[in-house]
């Protein structure tokens, strides 16, 4: 956010040099700018406070959700399920949110998907959760997006949100053999990693060689099991994503406030210097005017 102001600064300096001759106007423009930067700092500071509160809640909730994610993941790992080689279709679910100003967390999810789409854009379809991933991906890969949802990120994600999304994915009639959920896994307040969780279709699960060790299974049980586990995985990924997003927003806003503070310091200095210059010049004008008489 403040990067934008960074590019503005040299521009403003040019304006200052031009306006230097006009004296009073410069003083006015600096004070206006000073006020606006102060306001921005107030905004970023309060955003930091808000996201700190949201973060502590998200982290508490995340702790309760982690076993769900691990539990749902374990079946895929223990049954050694792999994608079917004859069905190359893949599904990618991007977990982001509607809100920006949180560092690079949405971009890194989108970048991960973009590199995959760069390799193969025929067999991969994307489900965008949150406006941000859609906004980033739709320009180049608009055709690959089969589903996008928004209103994510205002409130903490719930299991109902995840079930609705899982339901929408299963109803989309897109035949895929494997897929992945791309999300940011929360590690600590200052770090998160972009990771993927595997998901599989009924066909690839039934084709898994190790499935025979599981007793008394029919397709209906596996189908309902997979539907629920998709919802559970999406729920887990959403929670991780929300927590990383808040923590990353906290850091981003903290940095922004610090940068704004620096700018305020510099502007105050320029302001005082200019004011002094104006006073000195007026004095000179008066004195030289008086001595000319």
């Amino acid at each position: 956010m403040l990067g934008r102001f960074g590019t503005l600064t040299p521009l403003l300096q040019n304006v200052q040099i031009q306006q230097q001759q006009r004296g009073m106007a410069t003083l006015k423009s600096i004070s206006i700018r000073l006020k606006s930067v102060k306001n921005i700092q107030k905004i970023t500071q309060s955003m930091k406070m808000v996201s700190a509160a949201k973060y502590s809640r998200a982290e508490r909730e995340l702790k309760a959700v982690r076993p769900i994610g691990d539990g749902a993941k374990q079946f895929y790992e223990k049954a050694e399920i792999a994608a079917l080689p004859d069905i190359p279709q893949k599904l990618v679910i991007a977990i982001t949110s509607d809100r920006g100003l949180c560092g690079a967390c949405h971009t890194s999810v989108a970048r991960h998907i973009r590199t995959e789409l760069n390799k193969d854009n025929q067999n991969i379809k994307v489900v965008c959760v949150g406006d941000k991933s859609r906004a980033i991906l739709q320009r180049i890969y608009g055709k690959n997006i089969i589903l996008a949802c928004n209103e994510i990120g205002r409130l903490p994600p719930t299991f109902i949100d995840a079930s609705k999304l899982a339901d929408a994915i299963l109803r989309s009639d897109y035949q895929f053999s494997s897929g992945e959920i791309v999300f940011n896994r929360f590690r600590s307040v200052v770090s998160y990693v972009t990771e993927t969780l595997p998901v599989f279709s009924l066909a690839s699960v039934t084709a898994a060689p190790k499935l025979s060790v599981y007793d008394s299974l029919d397709d209906e049980v596996i189908q309902s099991y997979l539907e629920f586990s998709l919802a559970a995985l999406v729920f887990y990924a959403m929670k991780e994503g929300a927590c990383s997003e808040q923590s990353s927003r906290m850091t981003a806003m903290d940095n922004a406030s610090k940068n704004a503070g620096e700018m305020i310091e510099k502007l105050t200095l320029t302001f005082n210097r200019t004011r002094q210059a104006v006073i000195t010049r007026e004095l000179i004008e008066i004195i030289s005017g008086a001595s000319a008489l």
Binding site: P67, K78, Y214, D215, S224
Partner: protein
């Protein structure tokens, strides 16, 4: 050299795994998590009774691996120290893996003692009226599920 080291690391890791597995042979690693709370996390318990769509069944250590879908009802956990824990679940899945680890993932789960009988009956009657007034197939199915949960709730409270 690096390859050799990674191979040796793999070997040691495998050795570790087997020892852990051997330790768990007559012990199950039980995980019970729901959308709102975690009840057990890789804990050893004696027995777990679960209601599933293919019938209710009990899980003892070293159960044959299977998958099942939870039905609304009460999951009963017999802990190692003899304590019996009854938890109501609305829906979810049970996974029993071949290393004797058991995962129950539920959408909503609450201890039975926290349920209120009057509120449970209220839920059931509301669901029944919803079922009666449902017009589309989808609404009917949703209401039918709500009735099922309501009935199980009332039964669990009694």
């Amino acid at each position: 050299m690096a390859a050799l080291r990674s191979v040796s690391r793999l070997l040691t890791r495998r050795a570790l795994n087997t020892t852990v597995k051997r330790g768990y042979a007559d012990d199950m690693s039980f995980t019970f998590a729901s959308g709102n709370q975690v009840y057990y996390s890789a804990q050893a318990v004696k027995q777990v009774d679960v209601p599933s769509f293919s019938g209710s069944f009990g899980i003892l250590p070293a159960h044959v691996p299977t998958l099942a879908v939870l039905k609304p009802g009460v999951v009963t956990v017999f802990e190692n120290d003899g304590k019996v824990n009854k938890i109501f679940v609305s829906s979810g899945t049970v996974t029993i893996n071949d290393d004797s680890s058991v995962q129950i993932l539920a959408q909503e789960a609450h201890p039975v003692e926290n349920l209120d009988a009057a509120a449970a009956r209220d839920v059931l009657s509301k669901a029944q009226s919803q079922l009666a007034s449902a017009s589309t197939d989808e609404a009917k199915a949703e209401a039918a599920i709500a009735v099922e949960v309501g009935e199980a709730l009332v039964k669990a409270v009694e």
